[in-house]
Symmetry: C2
Subunit: 236 residues, 2 copies
DNA sequence: CGCCATAATATTGCATACGATTTCACCTGT
DNA sequence: ACAGGTGAAATCGTATGCAATATTATGGCG
């Protein structure tokens, strides 16, 4: 467990340590420092963050609601291992919700929203030009953050929370089933979407985001692994 | 607190008492035995269900994630009091998601799904013909269950969970802002939707559900209460 | 040599204990 | 009579302890 937090929580004035631990764990999961299936022992996590199991349990329960962690009774909590079916459902949900976000965002987007988008796009470009696993992770995170920015711009707190969950789960799915690592073509698509938002061009924006989600999903290997694949596994 | 559970949990062999308590509380909230703003004290709830505060806290945390309960640090948990803005967002979310559910459900409904729908419709009719506050509550619940059935028929577990949250929150919103109590016209609309599902008629089904959601929302009083209303309040 | 039964160990589920914070009642002073 | 302050009671946040369950190690047996 490399959470780069060897000592007690330094920050912040904001109480609620469970939330803080949840955020740390979530970050670690979505940028794959904690891989699917990793056990998150209450005692161990508590020791790392210098808190009792009580507050760790609260954090793990939150992550379990978000679908990032699977809790088994009397066995503990593990980083989720989404099945292919779950992966499909994540993307089906995104295909349903994100065009709606684009429509809402087109209506109410402000100049400061747009500049936040541009800022995010520059960050993406920065990570793209770098090399190394750390930049890779940052790139994945930045790519997800773009969609979260879209959700925020839509101005619906409920849908925003749904999207937070979907984006986080997507990153798990990509970790498990991603083929080429990162779909680097995503950046230009994000740019085109921002352009459409700025023009308040709903149909174009929706078409772009649908294609974009399609590209992300197309980069996954979601072939069902039953029947024939079993033989393959035995053959090896 | 009238949760009609004066003694220890009778059922069931199924472990996880926190989940059971969450379900009980949620039922009480969505059928308005617990009104918005009601305090849910950990100790009190624990005494009712004969469990420690630990497990009550877990249940309340779950409800707080679902938006049915608002938790304030060092103050406790209260049945949520959605604002008008939140109410609008709940219905905006439903307008986005439910047509997608109809489309998915049309593709994959089975005959047993249809009969489940018909069964549900009969239940609704039964409550409609009765009088009294208890039948009223059952009617509200049954009306929500119809939409949950739709979500289940769509076959996407993630969207199903989102809908569970949205339906539950809708019932809170109706409790707060409902005008005529119950939109009794809903029943015939539900029937028409089931007919469309059976014919696998996506466009009609989507149009029907959009109108249906519109009718539910139209029965609310979501006029914003700022500016002028302040004067009114002072005038009284 | 491998396999199953059994004991030792670790981990979770839950209750309880205690300090911290809030709430409420009461009281005093103006 | 009322505003504001003070103290008691209630409630929450968190740590810890114990029983129950799962996991791992050990040893006997086929």
């Amino acid at each position: 467990m490399n959470l780069q937090t060897p000592f007690a929580l330094p920050d912040s004035e904001a109480d609620d340590r469970a939330q803080l631990i949840r955020d740390r764990l979530r970050d670690a999961i979505v940028d794959r420092r904690l891989g699917p299936g990793t056990k998150l022992s209450e005692g161990e996590v508590g020791a790392i963050f210098n808190v009792s199991r009580t507050v760790v349990r609260a954090a793990l329960q939150m992550l379990s609601f978000e679908g990032l962690v699977r809790s088994e009774r009397n066995r503990g909590a593990f980083v989720a291992n989404p099945t292919i079916e779950e992966a499909r459902q994540v993307f089906a949900s995104r295909r349903l919700i994100e065009p709606g976000l684009v429509a809402a965002a087109c209506e109410r987007v402000t100049v400061s929203d747009i500049s936040a988008f541009r800022n995010q796009l520059e960050k993406e470009a920065g990570f793209l030009s770098q090399r190394g696993p750390s930049a890779r992770r940052s790139e994945i995170k930045a790519s997800g953050d773009f969609h979260l920015l879209l959700a925020a711009a839509a101005g619906n707190a409920i849908l925003q929370r749904f999207m937070e969950e979907l984006v986080a789960r997507s990153s798990l799915v990509i970790a498990l089933y991603g083929r080429s690592g990162v779909s680097s073509c995503g950046h230009s698509e994000h740019m085109a979407i921002v352009d459409a938002l700025e023009r308040r061009d709903v149909p174009t924006g929706q078409e772009l985001i649908i294609h974009h989600i399609g590209h992300i999903e197309a980069d996954l290997d979601l072939r069902t692994t039953d029947g024939l694949a079993l033989k393959d596994a035995l053959g090896i």
